[in-house]
Each structure stands twice: as structure tokens, then as C-alpha cells.
Symmetry: C2
Subunit: 160 residues, 2 copies
DNA sequence: TATTGTTATACTCTATAACTATA
DNA sequence: TATAGTTATAGAGTATAACAATA
């Protein structure tokens, strides 16, 4: 990528975009997300939000609506929207909790569970393949790196 | 995060969303991106696309429109849209190349350069602070990790 | 009053394609 | 015919707020 005028522009502050960590991270996440979506978007007509909710419901028998939000980090509006779509297509059931009728008890239908069972092996295999690009030391470091960066940036967000 | 029914659901395939790499990466990138946008979105009324373009122009005297796309990984439509906004606000000039009038020569105006000079130290300081959450070994591993994962997933995307 | 969820609205982002003008 | 850029459109994602039902 050798483009543009590279004459010094006589300034102090400078930023090399392709080497800037937030930029690189955004690109990587987008590319990874894209490559995973290839596995469920076209074949199963699911958006990312919908897939996240199916994934959250997949290893639980049932779940309250508010907990889906916590598990998927989607807000209640996004959950509500995505659930409408999933319910319409018969992948999820949503029934009012008799003990507190504000709650909705969510569960995958047999069709939803079957979809989950089909997609999970695909995305796990792809995750594994992606991570196999790393050497042993890198793979070992990855979890700690992500945990620390997530904690640090969440802290920044909270403080403003 | 201890929610929902955890009884075994009697199935082979299973996915633990909070530990799933693509999910964690998407969250992290979103959080990082957010924490950077805090530095320019409100104060300077810039979208991410606009900031990327200003950043790409900042360390070059001038740039052809098509190269901005390559440098920022925005497509020509996104570039065109963002540039309209930047030009309207007097941050960028866009003049037709006399040698090939399809080309546009882009450059920051003095106001645009002044904005760049103000934002760059802020985002660099924040980048540094975020990365300082890592220990030495992790910091050293990070570049290789991102390069390898980016290459691997781009490869996946190309193959479908 | 507080909580759960729905609906409304607006803006940003992504994706594709049609179109203009230049070459 | 190919390329650079603009415009149009639709769908997805993000963000806030108003609202209804329930507790």
C-alpha cells in the first residue's frame, strides 16, 4: 500500500492509521465476524443478533428475557426485535411467566434447537481453524490479552 | 453472570458464548472503538468514517480519492459520503485533478489540519493507556497475533 | 415507583446497483 | 470498455425516549 504524498507535512502530532491498534482491531473484528456470518447468514437467514440469541438459548433449557440481554450484551430493544423475528419463524417460543407476567420465558423450539445443532459445529470448527494460525505462545497469551483489554476499555468507557 | 437454566439439554453440539472467540473479539472491538470515539465524536462532531479519512489525510499532503479508500478500507460510496460532510464543514478540500478529471485531489484545510493536530495526541495517549494493561510478553505477542488472525480470516472470506 | 418489554424515531453503517463523467 | 465518483435504496446496527403492563 504505497500511495499518496509522503512529503513531511511539518507537524508534531502524527498517526499511522494502518498501525493504529484501534483501527487494526476494528478491521480484524469485522473480518472475523464476517467470516463467521458466512456460516449462518445465507444458509439459515439469520442476522448476527438473532444468531447470538439462538446461541444463548442453545445450551439452556429456558431463559428469562432480561437474562438474554445480559448474556448477549444486546439491549432490551434489540432483544425484543430479534425475538419477534425468531418467533415468527418458529425458532423460539416466548411465553409469559405466570409468576411475574412482565417476564417472558424463552426457549428454542425443536426447529430452533435443530438449527443450533447444525450451526454450532460449523462455527466451532471455524473458530478453531482461525486460532490455529497462532503459535503456541500466542495462543496461550490470547485469553489474557483479551480479558485485560476488555477490562481496561470498559473502565475507560465508564469514566468517560 | 449466573442466569438461566443450566440443566443439561441432552445434545452433542454446544457453544459457550462468553468464551467464544469471535463473540469476545466483537465485544472488545466495539468497546475500544467506543472509547476512542469519546475523544472525537462529541467534541468534534465526527463520525468514525469521517475521522478515519481525516486520519488518512493527516500525515500526507494530499491524496487521490481512490487511495483514501484503500488506506481507510472504506468503499468509494462511504468515502464519497463522508467527504461531502467534511467538505461542507470546511475540513477538507476536494479538487478535480487537471490531468485526469475523474480523480479528486484531497487535502485537509488549515481547519482540518488543526483538528487533526488536536485529536491525534488524544487518541495516541488513549491507545497507549489501553495497551499498557498488558504485560511485556503480551504486548510483544499482540502484533503477531493480529497480523496472523487478520491474514487467516481474510483468506477464509475470499474462499467463502 | 421500579421493572420488563414494546413501539417509535433517528442516525450510523453496510451492501448493491444504477448512473454520470471522464478516459 | 473501464475507472472515479455520485446518488439511490434497503437492510442492519446503535441510541434514546415514550409508552404499556405489571409488580
Amino acid at each position: 500500500m504505497d500511495v499518496g504524498e509522503r512529503e513531511p507535512v511539518g507537524q508534531d502530532a502524527d498517526l499511522n492509521l494502518p498501525g493504529f491498534f484501534p483501527y487494526r482491531l476494528a478491521l480484524l473484528a469485522e473480518t472475523v465476524s464476517h467470516s463467521m456470518a458466512q456460516l449462518y447468514a445465507d444458509r439459515f437467514e439469520m442476522t448476527r443478533h438473532e444468531w447470538r440469541i439462538v446461541a444463548a438459548l442453545g445450551n439452556r433449557k429456558r431463559l428469562a428475557g432480561r437474562d438474554v440481554g445480559r448474556l448477549t450484551t444486546l439491549d432490551k430493544m434489540q432483544v425484543s426485535r430479534a425475538l419477534s423475528g425468531l418467533e415468527e419463524r418458529g425458532l423460539v417460543t416466548r411465553i409469559a411467566d405466570p409468576l411475574d407476567r412482565r417476564n417472558h420465558i424463552l426457549a428454542l423450539t425443536p426447529a430452533g434447537r435443530s438449527l443450533y445443532q447444525k450451526v454450532v459445529p460449523l462455527v466451532r470448527a471455524r473458530e478453531e481453524y482461525i486460532l490455529s494460525a497462532l503459535n503456541e505462545g500466542e495462543a496461550k497469551a490470547l485469553d489474557g490479552i483479551m480479558t485485560k483489554l476488555q477490562a481496561r476499555t470498559e473502565d475507560l468507557l465508564r469514566r468517560g
